[in-house]
Amino acid sequence: MDVLRQLLIIAIFPGGIFMLLIGLVYAWINGKLIARLQNRVGPRWFQPFADMLKLITKEEIVPEGTNKLLFELLPIVALAGPMTAALYVPMAGLRPSSSFQGDLIVTIYLLSLMTLCTGFAGANTRDRFSTIGATRALTQLFSYEAPFLLALLGPAIVAGTWQISEIITTNQGLWLVVTQPISFVIAIIGLMGKLEMHPFDAPEAKTEIVAGALTEYSGRGLALFKVGHYVELVIGLTLVAALFLGGLANPLMFLLKTLGLLLGISFLEALMTRLRIDQTVGLWWRYGSVLALLQLVILVIWSTLVS
């Protein structure tokens, strides 16, 4: 019975099928919001479903000079990372289905697996655009990862634990966005950097380097990478909403808070233009990490004074 329950958790909810469906739905909402902000009609509600079904049934070409095993395996790992992270976040406002001391760090690691796989996939092919895309993706990874981690440490320090479910129960009803605004902003913008959304889309800049690290991927591999992005979007939104917006008490709160965050992200995405890779790195190391450290120092001093 226990095995059956665990299988259900992995295959249907909150891993597996549920994550795929909600990821595609959120991808559509994101596309639609951006389209409306740009005065377009936008995609139809089934657009991501049609895209993925088409890509999966397309021919997959393995280019010459690549390691075939890595080429086939990297998209699977890229999707599996965010899917596993779904087990540790309060998906749909319910309790995390798996939880242990320190799972916040594991979740953050699983979320960066996607970018790592993109980088390796680009470096694996001989194509020059893929190589440039991979370099940019990994450079960007090293710039936003530290501030993002520091930003998510804020709620953990206030709660005094590294366990996501305990952080949420300790800060129940406490909107940390009011007391830690800097961390919140850095977490949101870090999430946009992770997902290679608009101001940070230098790694897949269509007008410069074709499609970045994924230039050589066709069919199944491309579909898996794209679905991985969509799943990661949902996980990231859930994590930030749960840590900073007073927890996710029920499915309705989950929808309201994550969609509110998604609206903000889409607005930023439609508003801003692409940063050069050196500007991205400069932004994160000159301002992002310094501000995140400042917030952390304030929090540490404040919590020592209180206790």
Binding site: A35, Q38, N39, R40, V41, G42, P43, R44, F46, Q47, F49, A50, D51, L53, K54, T57, K58, E59, E60, I61, F129, K206, V210, A211, L214, T215, E216, Y217, S218, G219, L222
Partner: protein, 155 residues
């Protein structure tokens, strides 16, 4: 026993779903094989919010590996021929080709010239021809509508 008789209802439903997905998600890669840019500007106009073909799932992909349709303009110059063939060969199956503009159809004013190939259908198989010099965005959308029919009936 033909393939038609052997296929089970589930397989047929799956094939129908795939045909639906292909029809509703057409990604195009744009190649200019020596055109004067008139047709290219009209194609880009078709993608702007005013005509907005993205609402029916048609969008430009950067890489030929991601694309389903090669949208080609121009009379194919001697220099552009190799790149055209390479772009076509890099696309994964099933793939389609749309020729836009009089030059891409027949060579236009360059017909019989010493360094053009008089249209792209001598080099790659073309599915939809859109005449005009340059064709209006309405004509391009009409061509895409014919292409979608062809994509849906692709076996």
């Amino acid at each position: 026993m033909t393939l038609e008789e052997r296929s089970s209802p589930i397989l047929k439903a799956f094939e129908k779903a795939v045909a639906w997905a292909r029809m509703n998600s057409v990604w195009a890669v744009h190649y200019n094989s020596g055109s004067c840019n008139g047709c290219d500007i009209e194609l880009l106009t078709t993608i702007t919010p005013r005509y907005d073909v993205e609402r029916i799932g048609i969008k430009l992909a950067g890489s030929p590996r991601h694309a389903d349709v090669l949208v080609c303009t121009g009379p194919v110059t001697g220099q552009g021929k190799d790149a055209l063939l390479r772009t076509y060969e890099q696309m994964p199956a099933p793939k389609f080709v749309v020729a836009i503009g009089t030059c891409a159809l027949s060579g236009g004013v360059f017909e019989g010239s010493y360094n053009t190939y008089d249209g792209i259908d001598g080099l790659v198989p073309v599915d939809v021809y859109i005449p005009g010099c340059p064709p209006r965005p309405e004509a391009i959308i009409n061509g895409f509508a014919q292409l979608l029919e062809k994509v849906e009936n692709y076996a």
